[in-house]
C-alpha cells in the first residue's frame, strides 16, 4: 500500500480550494453579486459595485491572463524563505473580472504580459504535525519557447 499523501492546509482559510487529487489545480473562493453580476475575490457579503447585500459563493479560475509581473530578488515578506534566484510576482486577470495578485511559478524570463496563466498550489513549509502549508500561485500555461 502506497504511503498516503501528506495533508495540505491553506496558509489562511477561505481563499482557495485544495483538491484531494494532488495534480488538480486549486480554484479561488470568490463571490458573485446576485443583483449586478460582478465577481470578487476574496469572498464578500456586500457588492463593492452596486452595494447590494448577499453575494453568492462561486469558484473562480483556474485560468487567467498575466496583466503585469516582476521578479523579486529579496526574501518573502511574511516568510523565512530565501530563494537565491528570487521569485516571480504578478497580477492575473480572471475571465470573470477580478485581478489577482499572487506569486508566480517559473524562472526569470518565463513571463510576458498577456500570456495565459493557470493556478497551482505551492508548499511554503511544514507544520510540526507534518502537514504541508500551501498557498495559491500562477504558472504559465505553456513554457515559452
Amino acid at each position: 500500500m502506497a504511503e498516503p499523501a501528506r495533508r495540505r492546509v491553506p496558509i489562511e482559510p477561505g481563499f482557495f480550494t485544495i483538491s484531494e487529487d494532488a495534480g488538480a489545480p486549486p480554484q479561488l473562493l470568490g463571490s458573485r453579486c446576485r443583483a449586478c453580476g460582478e465577481h470578487f475575490f476574496p469572498r464578500r457579503m456586500v457588492c463593492a459595485r452596486c452595494l447590494a447585500q448577499g453575494c453568492e459563493d462561486v469558484l473562480l479560475g483556474p485560468e487567467g491572463t498575466l496583466w503585469t509581473f516582476t521578479w523579486v530578488h529579496v526574501p518573502f515578506f511574511g516568510q523565512k524563505k530565501t530563494a537565491a534566484a528570487g521569485y516571480g510576482v504578478g497580477q492575473v486577470d480572471l475571465p470573470e473580472g477580478p485581478r489577482i495578485q499572487a506569486v508566480l511559478s517559473g524562472a526569470q524570463g518565463d513571463f510576458a504580459i498577456g500570456m495565459p496563466m493557470r493556478l497551482e498550489l505551492e508548499t511554503l513549509r511544514e507544520t510540526p504535525e507534518g502537514e504541508e502549508v500551501v498557498i495559491h500561485r500562477f504558472r504559465p500555461v505553456e513554457a515559452r519557447a
Binding site: 496558509i11 475575490f41 516582476t70 521578479w71 515578506f77 510576482v89 486577470d93 504580459i113
Partner: protein, 385 residues
C-alpha cells in the same frame, strides 16, 4: 472644504535616519519642541493634538504628548499607514477651520528601523497571512513593469528620478541620505536589485524620525510671528479607493493609481488652484517609478508625457516644477508616521524662503501628496500670502 482661514504657526523635524538611542516618543518630543519654539508658544497654548504613528503598540500618542507636559488637552491617535502624518495634519487643519481649536498640533513619529529588524515582516500576528506574502517593493514593481509595457518607459527614467532625489537630499539638513558625491543614474541602476526593474537606490529606507506642525488662525499667527511670511493651508483632501472593475483586494495594495488623480482634483478644487499655480510638490516616492506616475496623476503633465518631464529634468531643483526638494521618501527618508509632516516642514521652509541651497525661487504654493496601504490618498495645498 476650503481651509483658507488656517495658517502654519510652527514646524519642527528631527533628522530622519536610524536613531539607536532615542525612543520614538523621545523623537516625537524633540520634533514637537522644535515646532513649539518655531511657533513661539508652549503647550498651554495648544488646544488639541493629533498624533500619528504606525508601530502597533497602543497609547503611544498620549504618552508622547505627556513628554511635553500634562495640560489636559484632547489628544487623538491618527493612523493611515504611510499617509499617517499628512492625515494628522488634515485633522489639525480642520480642527482650526471649524473653530473647535484656536491652536492645533499635528505630530508624527515612528521607528521603522526596529520594525524592519523585527524580522521578516515584523508586524507580529499578521505575518503568516495571504496579505503578507508579497512585498510592497514587488507591488510597486508591478506598476513599473506595466508602465514600461504601455509607454516604453525605461529603467533609466526611474534611475534619473531616484538620482535627483538623492541629490536633493544632500542639500537638506534633516534628510537621512546625504551623499558625499553627485549621485548618477548609472550608480542607481548598478545598485542591488530588489524587484525588477527597481533597485535598492530607487527605494526609500526604513527610517526612524519625528516631525510636527502647529496650526492656528492667520490673525493669531500674524500676532505671534509678525514679519514672517504667512503660510496658509488652502485645502486638505483625503480619499479611499473608488471601485473599478479589476480591483485588487488582496496583498499590498496602493491603488488604483487614479485615486491620486481624484484626490488631487479635490484638493485643487477646494483651494481654487490648478497644477500651474504650484511651485513645488512633495509626493509618495517610496519607489522612484511612483513619482513618475504622479507627475501625470497630480496634473503636472499630460498622460504619457511624464518620461519627457524626466528627460528634460523639469522636476529637479531649478526646473519647471521641482519634486521632492528635500529628497523625498527616497533620500529624506520614510519612517511612516512622520513622513507627511516632514513634507509639510519642507513646504513651509520653502514658502518662508528659508531653504538655503535648495530654495525654490519665488516659491508660493506647495503640494504634499501621500498614499497609504489599504489604501488611501491625501493631498494638501499650502500657499504663502
Amino acid at each position: 472644504m476650503k481651509l483658507g482661514n488656517v495658517a502654519v504657526l510652527g514646524v519642527g523635524q528631527v533628522r530622519f535616519g536610524v536613531h539607536k538611542v532615542k525612543s520614538g516618543i523621545e523623537l516625537a518630543r524633540d520634533a514637537a519642541l522644535l515646532a513649539l519654539a518655531d511657533a513661539g508658544i508652549d503647550l498651554r497654548s495648544v488646544n488639541e493634538a493629533f498624533v500619528g504613528y504606525i508601530e502597533p503598540a497602543a497609547m503611544l500618542a498620549i504618552k508622547a504628548m505627556k513628554e511635553l507636559g500634562l495640560t489636559g488637552l484632547p489628544v487623538t491617535h491618527v493612523e493611515n499607514a504611510s499617509a499617517t502624518g499628512l492625515v494628522a495634519f488634515r485633522e489639525a487643519a480642520h480642527a482650526v477651520a471649524s473653530g473647535r481649536a484656536q491652536v492645533a498640533l499635528a505630530l508624527g513619529f515612528d521607528k521603522m528601523s526596529e520594525m524592519a529588524r523585527g524580522g521578516q515582516g515584523g508586524r507580529g500576528p499578521g505575518r503568516d497571512t495571504i496579505d503578507s506574502v508579497i512585498l510592497p517593493a514587488a507591488y510597486f514593481a508591478l506598476w513599473a513593469m506595466r508602465r514600461m509595457h504601455e509607454r516604453g518607459t525605461r529603467p533609466e527614467h526611474f534611475a534619473k528620478i531616484a538620482a535627483k532625489n538623492w541629490n536633493h537630499g544632500a542639500l537638506c539638513p534633516v534628510a537621512d541620505r546625504q551623499a558625499d558625491h553627485r549621485v548618477t543614474p548609472e550608480e542607481v541602476l548598478a545598485s542591488r536589485k530588489i524587484a525588477e526593474p527597481l533597485t535598492a537606490m530607487m527605494a526609500c529606507p526604513p527610517d526612524d524620525g519625528a516631525a510636527c506642525a502647529i496650526l492656528a488662525a492667520p490673525e493669531l499667527v500674524r500676532k505671534l510671528r509678525p514679519g514672517r511670511p504667512l503660510v496658509r493651508v488652502l485645502s486638505s483632501a483625503l480619499q479611499t479607493e473608488t471601485y473599478t472593475p479589476g480591483h485588487t483586494f488582496v496583498g499590498p495594495v496602493v491603488g488604483p493609481a487614479t485615486m491620486s488623480r481624484d484626490t488631487a482634483n479635490e484638493a485643487y478644487r477646494d483651494a481654487g488652484l490648478g497644477p500651474a499655480d504650484v511651485s513645488l510638490a512633495l509626493c509618495h516616492d517610496a519607489f522612484a517609478n511612483e513619482e513618475l506616475e504622479y507627475y501625470e496623476l497630480l496634473g503636472f503633465c499630460a498622460e504619457g508625457e511624464a518620461e519627457k518631464l524626466v528627460e528634460e529634468e523639469q522636476t529637479s531643483l531649478g526646473g519647471r516644477i521641482p519634486f521632492n526638494t528635500d529628497g523625498g521618501l527616497i533620500a529624506r527618508g520614510h519612517p511612516g508616521g512622520p513622513t507627511g509632516l516632514a513634507q509639510i516642514h519642507e513646504i513651509v521652509v520653502q514658502l518662508r524662503g528659508e531653504a538655503g541651497r535648495r530654495q525654490v525661487e519665488n516659491a508660493r504654493v506647495g503640494l504634499a501628496h501621500l498614499v497609504g496601504g489599504g489604501s488611501v490618498c491625501t493631498v494638501s495645498l499650502l500657499a504663502r500670502d
